[in-house]
Symmetry: C2
Subunit: 361 residues, 2 copies
């Protein structure tokens, strides 16, 4: 994913190539890299999920391809329009902007959002640009605090002066400029309530770090923000999740990428991310055994999958965690630490683990 | 819900009353107002859902009551501790703080969070204080922007200088001080992506208003923030939701309260809130007919319920909406306005509707 590429030029190039075919009386064809498990490889050297070389041809004059061809171009046209007027849209907006009936037919360009989303991902691989660079945003979520000053849309925002709320992380962080970053590391946590705990305890101030959270899944905005802090400011990223398969998967996606977004690996994965907790070892060490929640069928199924992921298969530390989880037959939440005292997490658990570098890599 | 009540004193009073019973050799008893539909009335005068007068006795020496009695007191003790140290916890934290095995038995004080949540709500009705006043927070979500300056935890936060992210709304807004409020009204919307659209278009600056959003359900923090802006600054609150039963219900809860939180009616409902859209009339007027999504079984079921709610039953404007929805057999999303152009919502739809006062009350 090249960052130097100019999005408008990339789209114009795409259009010119097709126009050239048309003017030469050749059928316009798009060669779209295949985005499916069959074309996703785990690159052992870079340790990220990557798209392979297989492409699929989309020929405008092939009835089986014509609609997908049109959808991709329509989405490209919307993106071009957004870039021209300097505005951003959500995937849902794009769906409605593309959705219309083709004149003199009863056929809609798209019937549901899955189609325009798909076309958008095709446009990402075709143009080598991220959706955000094409001015189409993911959902917005999450808060951040720390001794950081950023410039965004002409405003100077001091993450250390945001009261109890913090700065609300935008869906698109590509244009944010870091003016001051005074932190030794970043803790990303999957739960907003844990963030509020650490924030109220001024953890980021006392420990000189940045705290960031979403609620549940990690949004693309957060992933990019973490990646930028990691790459541009060389900050270690520590991931704090529930001690369960879903927590392990949140970490897995942050660090290695996801199958869906394999084509985005470069701009999305954080290779240096480390898993901070909750680990299966924490259960014994911090007296959380009575808070074990029994694994259900879904947990076991997911656990099996995780154990067999290529990027976890040869990772002894993770395999040990998965085995322990199976042996304990249970999972444990971050907030079970509250049973040891409301600020146990910020006064003992986190400082101790970070000082002793007790991470899973 | 009295705001003058001192939370610590209220809890101490509760404890003293019980201690008095014990010292007088009487069984300690809690009289807890019943929080169920059977004891929830719609007050036609104040137009809010209210708790009735029925109470249920919780006698410590009645085996059927003892556990609930204990749970309520344990939750009160946790709340007292939080107030003493000046910290806040989430409901999940409270669960873990209360959860322990009673010595010499195999009985846990609570086995799952529903029990401690329930005890917390009992404590709210018993003490006449909100969970937030008792230092237990709901989930955090949502963003806000506008020409407003607040003071929170010693920080001065200017909602007009928050870049593209906005201020992240905390779960507890009780202690926020409004230093400057320059706005004619507030638009609350159920979708973060719509908020980002309006924010990028500087809608709040051009229209001199405040824009606020969550994602899906309205959190208690947001409800209180809206209510405070309405009561303390006399600002009209306009609600922008999808044109469907779920949107109508979001509005219903904001304006009239919810059955679950009937005991909180005073500090939660916004009696002056008005529904701005999407209305069934908008569909014709703004050419959204082709974006109608067919109602499913669940929609019809919910529609039936809404039509029969006491607070909607005699409301002609809403009954008309519900009938139209049935006749159209469809629902429509806010973002379908994007089919008319990316900024159609901020340049035409909203200014026009607000100027013409096209609200549903």
């Amino acid at each position: 994913m090249s960052k130097e590429k100019n999005p408008k030029e990339a789209l114009e190039e795409l259009g010119k190539d097709l126009a050239k075919d048309v003017l030469a009386n050749k059928p316009p064809i798009l060669d779209v890299p295949i985005r499916a498990l069959s074309n996703v490889n785990f690159n052992k050297k870079s340790e990220t999920l990557e798209l392979g070389n297989k492409t699929s041809e989309r020929n405008f004059f092939n009835v089986a391809h014509a609609k997908k061809f049109l959808q991709t171009l329509e989405v490209a046209a919307v993106s071009k329009e957004l870039l021209d007027v300097g505005k951003h849209a959500s995937l849902r907006d794009v769906f409605y902007m593309v959705k219309r009936t083709i004149p003199n037919t009863k056929v809609n360009v798209v019937d549901d959002q899955a189609e325009s989303d798909d076309a958008m991902e095709d446009l990402e691989v075709l143009s080598g640009l991220s959706r955000e660079q094409l001015h189409v945003n993911a959902n917005k979520m999450g808060s951040v605090a720390g001794h950081v000053v950023v410039e965004d849309k002409g405003d100077e925002i001091d993450w250390s002066k945001m009261g109890s709320g913090g700065w609300s992380i935008p869906s698109n962080v590509e244009e944010i400029k870091f003016k001051k970053v005074k932190a030794k590391y970043v803790i990303y946590m999957e739960k907003a309530a844990v963030w509020e705990r650490l924030h109220e305890d001024k953890f980021w101030d006392k420990q000189n770090c940045i705290i960031m959270s979403s609620q549940g899944q990690t949004t693309r905005g957060i992933r990019r923000l973490l990646q930028r802090l990691s790459q541009e400011h060389d900050l270690p990223i520590y991931v704090l999740c529930d001690g369960d398969v879903w927590g392990s998967y949140i970490y897995s996606v942050l660090k290695y990428g996801s199958i869906n977004l394999a084509h985005m690996a470069g701009s999305m994965t954080i290779r240096t991310a480390k898993y901070l907790g909750i680990t299966m070892d924490d259960i014994e060490k911090y007296g959380l055994k009575k808070h074990l929640i029994t694994l259900n069928e879904q947990d076991y199924k997911r656990l099996e999958q995780l154990q067999n992921y290529e990027w976890f298969k040869d990772n002894k530390a993770w395999q040990r965690q998965f085995k322990l989880m199976k042996a304990l037959k249970g999972k444990v939440e971050i907030q079970s630490l509250s049973s040891r005292g409301i600020s146990f997490i910020s006064e003992k658990y986190l400082p101790e683990k970070i000082k002793n570098k007790e991470f899973i890599d």
